[in-house]
Amino acid sequence: MTRSFAAARLSAVAAAALISAAMAVTDARAEGNLTIYCSVQEEWCQLMVNEFQKATGITVAMTRKSSGETFAQVKAEAANPKGDIWWGGTGDPHLQAAEEGLTEAYESSMLKDLNDWAVSQHKTGGGKTVGIYMGALGFGYSADVLKEKGVEGPKCWADLTKTDYKGEVQIANPNSSGTAYTFLATMVQILGEEDAFAYLKKLNGNVNQYTKSGAAPAQAASRGETLIGITFQHDLVTPAVTSDVPMVVVSPCEGTGFEVGSMSIIKGGPNPDNAKKWYDWALTPEAQALGAQANSFQVPSNKSAPIPEAAPKLSEIKLINYDFAKYGSSEERKRLLSRWDKEIGAAQ
């Protein structure tokens, strides 16, 4: 009898201990939670999350997926959203989410500190999204390899079709890479559609490979596997920094297209207040300086965010007036891609 009584008391104590342990676990989360969908490079995502947790004490659960995948997920979860905020990734799917009412409008007090292109993204999206970084298209080559070849370095888009660069240009396939699609749309906007395709056909003669991933030409150029790689300028900077190659990053003289990496608050997410905290924090100069630490050299949207030495300078880039609404729409995309397939892809 006494023994069973002791056993009962023991189990009561154990239960109490278990419950208090559970309370302690939840206590640590007193600042609350935040679920973020992150669509930039893994390292950058992780760094942002760690710094935000340090700054606010909010526990962050992060999922990294490409912007296309994230858009699909946010759409699928619309009835019962799991995520609070969608940070990073090219602007088109963010705009599409805004249009379909999957995201929430928010006027951050930080807006006044942002570059024009970031605010314009905010306006285009009806206040439901905002620019956090910008990446401009360009091309790059290693100064060493150029010297070996004994040719002149290209300065303009038009230079790339010169016979000097036969079999020396690399770019992604626009079917599998958003970067290459941005290039296609940029050429159409600079030259007009007919001339753009004539240009691409000529360029095709110089292209040695259409890669699958958008940033691959950058690493190929840095390793000397190709002379010239066409991609986003920040992607060209990364291998230069990680493997010490004297990369020359060129911002083409005709002007160039760009992407606006964006951020949106998911409508009906479980932690709307913390989502706003992240939103404001992510637009501060300190948070925007983190990209460079993770070897991501996009141009930050906050005007006073420090720009590292290696990163492309906004002042040296001639941006075209890129029509995101038109070239982001899926009909236009489909039409241009199928024309590319017919005239360039098939003739590869």
Binding site: M62, G68, S176, Q348
Partner: protein, 733 residues
């Protein structure tokens, strides 16, 4: 038939556990994970409540009928006349209803608009959680208990339960995902099901075009994969044969080197060889520079495409062909060849008319293995493919790139699966029925015939440069970790190792500051969890196959082996398609990686178990059964101790494979659960080759340690055979 007292006790326990699953445990999956126990704080609100409370208070009345599955068997406890049928019915109803409601009501309420129109809107459902897992398992075991009561497996509850669990888990984690891929390929742009969409995707130009014969530069991706696989099959088989003959039929001395060569591909992450080739023969590679200096051949991009892929796949898969063929060469009885020579056949004629025909089935086998490995290879085409598209990488880019088209990925997966399964079926049909055994119980004192001189020269000419090349390549890879950027800047440095594996001493002790540590620890942890599970399920299956007879055993065996023929990329894609949305939502968890490892590596564990079990005489278990032990006790006390070598072998194999796999897991990793191989691929993507190579070298060293364990395990097997195998062998010969 009323149950025995023991059967009733088991049934009562099952029903109690099932009731706990429905009435206590959280029904839906917990976002922060069940084992974090953070959910206890808000228990029981709508997201953490058990099924009973959800049904009663949270507008989910459709969960009530689940109880019927537990109530139906209750009369069996009181000696009901049709107890077995009731138990069986309860289990079947429970499991069917569980899945039916899960598939019909999902994240957005009803999944079919027609049902919404009929019954009105319902609240959404999350993925099934712990409560549902317990309830589902119990329903499954009820089915098994019901069948045992009806006399299946002589009423042995443990055996029926084991078969039910293995079959159910294979259905759920191998067949359900593949079925989901088939369905996904038929989902059209509007989200509806249409056969037209399926046909359209399966017959697209990209896959079948034969344009390369009509002046275009490239053919369809099906043909690309097929050409490459056939070419790789041929080269690996020929080289493998050369190595096998070199090992067994020549006076070659450095056999230890050949052994090392044979284990290397098992421990090398798949894309590493491709990386080494770039460092060596890329346009700015070390070898290229040398050749261009010596012979004035200008550097080119020849390694990007078919030729580079063939080279690298031959490097990677020749050792497997060698391993297969060495057994075949060993298996040819020398007496046959001696007989031929006694009959005055010269060495060439002996080789041509005796040795070669006996080698043929082994060659076919080696060819098919090379063929399938080439099709399934993902890492090398990713690094070296160039403009030469193959199925495995096309599937990957259909999902991760801007295409983001699961339908296309699924269709491509079907094509790839069709190719590998055909090879698999062909192999079984073709090789399964013939006997090429030449070693019998009779004494065999012959000496293997000496190879004809011309052939010997040919073998040395083929293998020696290749051997040197392989060694050079691995040295290259090793060296790549210790210089700034191999080929571009050869300053020696430890920087890559410090970046990846740096350790600092902070105020609170050791600080794992290296960037590779998180993925390294995750990899080791998940592999360590997966390995025992793989071994357990694999050996249990082997036991069932080897020791028990039951209805459908042959197709059961075929099914378990089939999962071996499914390429990793297809597994990855099918897991995403099947487990991304409720009722079974696993993506982004560590669990999905563990499950993927288990069901991918299980077939090897089954083979290991079968091999060992067939060496243990059945009379041992019969003794135990005669002494009134149940099958469970027999397994635990008699068979398991004897199986130890197989257990060690499958543990280590499962562990090693979990660490080196890329193709399947690259789709399944998440920020929280990143794996070493996926991290390395990420490094390669931003051309951080130094860290990638440093990390790969560390992994290879870890694997070598694991291989040491394998050798230890094999050593024990020999002892075990001497102790237990001898009487059995005497008895049968």
């Amino acid at each position: 038939m009323a149950g025995s007292a023991q059967q009733d006790r088991i049934l009562l326990a099952l029903l109690a556990a099932g009731a706990a699953g429905l009435a206590l445990l959280p029904w839906y999956a917990i976002e922060s994970g069940f084992w974090s126990f953070a959910w206890l704080a808000s228990y029981p609100d709508a997201s953490t409540a058990p099924a009973t409370l959800l049904a009663a208070f949270h507008e989910r009345p459709w969960l009530w009928p689940l109880f019927l599955g537990l109530l139906l068997p209750v009369p069996a406890l009181f000696g009901h006349r049709r107890a077995a049928a009731l138990v069986l019915a309860g289990g079947i109803f429970g499991i069917c209803y569980l899945f039916l409601q899960g598939f019909l009501i999902g994240l957005r309420g009803w999944s079919l608009p027609a049902l919404e129109a009929m019954f009105g809107p319902v609240p959404p459902q999350d993925g099934l959680g712990t409560g549902a897992l317990v309830a589902g398992t119990i329903f499954l075991l009820l089915i098994a208990a019901g069948m045992a009561r009806r006399g299946a497996m002589r009423g042995d509850q443990f055996l029926v339960g084991a078969i039910a669990l293995v079959v159910a888990s294979i259905l759920l984690f191998v067949f359900f995902p593949i079925a989901a891929v088939l369905v996904e390929a038929a989902i059209d742009a509007a989200g509806g099901f249409s056969l037209g969409a399926l046909l359209g995707r399966l017959t697209t130009e990209d896959i079948w075009s034969l344009g390369c014969f009509a002046g275009q530069r490239y053919c369809g991706v099906f043909w690309n994969s097929l050409w490459l696989a056939v070419a790789t099959g041929i080269t690996t088989t020929l080289l493998g044969l050369a190595f096998a003959l070199l090992h067994k039929r020549t006076g070659f001395r450095a056999k230890g080197l050949l052994r090392l060569l044979a284990v290397l591909p098992i421990i090398t992450p798949p894309f590493v060889i491709g990386l080494g080739i770039i460092l060596l023969f890329g346009r700015s590679g070390v070898g290229t520079a040398l050749i261009s200096d010596l012979f004035g051949i200008p550097p080119s991009r020849w390694i990007y495409g078919f030729s580079g892929l063939l080279l690298v796949q031959t490097l990677a898969f020749t050792p497997i062909a060698y391993l297969v063929l060495i057994g075949v060469v060993e298996g040819i009885s020398p007496s046959m060849e001696e007989a031929a020579q006694t009959l005055r056949a010269d060495r060439w004629r002996t080789f041509r008319t005796v040795t070669w025909p006996l080698l043929r089935p082994g060659l076919a086998n080696a060819f098919l293995i090379g063929f399938v490995e080439s099709l399934a290879d993902f890492g090398n085409p990713l690094v070296l493919g160039g403009n030469y598209d193959v199925l495995s990488t096309d599937i990957f880019f259909a999902i991760v790139g801007s295409q983001n088209d699961p339908g296309r990925a699924s269709a491509l997966s079907i094509v790839l699966l069709f190719l590998t399964l055909s090879a698999f079926v062909l192999q079984r049909q073709w090789l399964g029925r013939r006997s090429y055994t030449t070693i019998s119980g009779k004494g065999d004192a012959g000496i293997p015939a000496i190879l004809p001189r011309g052939l010997r020269v040919l073998i040395y000419a083929a293998t020696m440069p290749w051997l040197a090349f392989t060694v050079l390549l691995y040295l290259m890879i090793l060296a790549g970790g210790f210089v700034r950027s191999l080929g571009l800047n050869n300053t020696p440095t430890f920087q890559h190792y410090i970046t990846a594996f740096g350790i600092d001493w902070g105020p609170h002790g050791i600080l794992w500051s290296g960037r590779a540590w998180p993925s390294f620890f995750t990899t080791i942890e998940l592999a360590a969890i997966a390995a025992p599970l793989t071994a357990a399920i694999g050996l249990l299956t082997a036991y069932l196959l080897n020791r028990q007879n039951f209805f459908g055993k042959n197709s059961f065996e075929f099914l378990t082996m089939l999962s071996f023929a499914i390429p990793g990329t297809v597994i990855g894609i099918s897991y995403i398609v099947a487990f991304n949305v409720p009722p079974i939502e696993l993506t982004g968890t560590g669990l999905i990686l563990v499950i993927c490892f288990v069901f991918r590596n299980m077939p090897v564990s089954i083979r290991a178990g079968l091999a060992t079990l067939s060496q243990i005489d059945k009379s041992l278990d019969e003794c135990s059964l005669t002494l009134r032990h149940g099958s469970f006790a027999t397994m635990r006390r008699v068979i398991l101790p004897l199986l130890r070598p197989a257990i060690i072998a499958s543990l280590v194999y499962a562990f090693v494979r979990a660490i080196t796999s890329v193709s399947a897991v690259i789709f399944l990793v998440s920020a929280q659960y990143n794996l070493a191989t996926a991290y390395i691929v990420g490094r390669v993507e931003i051309s951080d080759f130094g860290v990638a190579i440093a990390y790969s070298s560390v992994l290879i060293l870890c694997m070598l340690a694991a291989i040491g364990l394998i050798q230890l395990g094999v050593g024990e097997q020999r002892r075990a055979r001497r102790t237990f195998g001898t009487p059995a062998a005497l008895g049968t010969s």
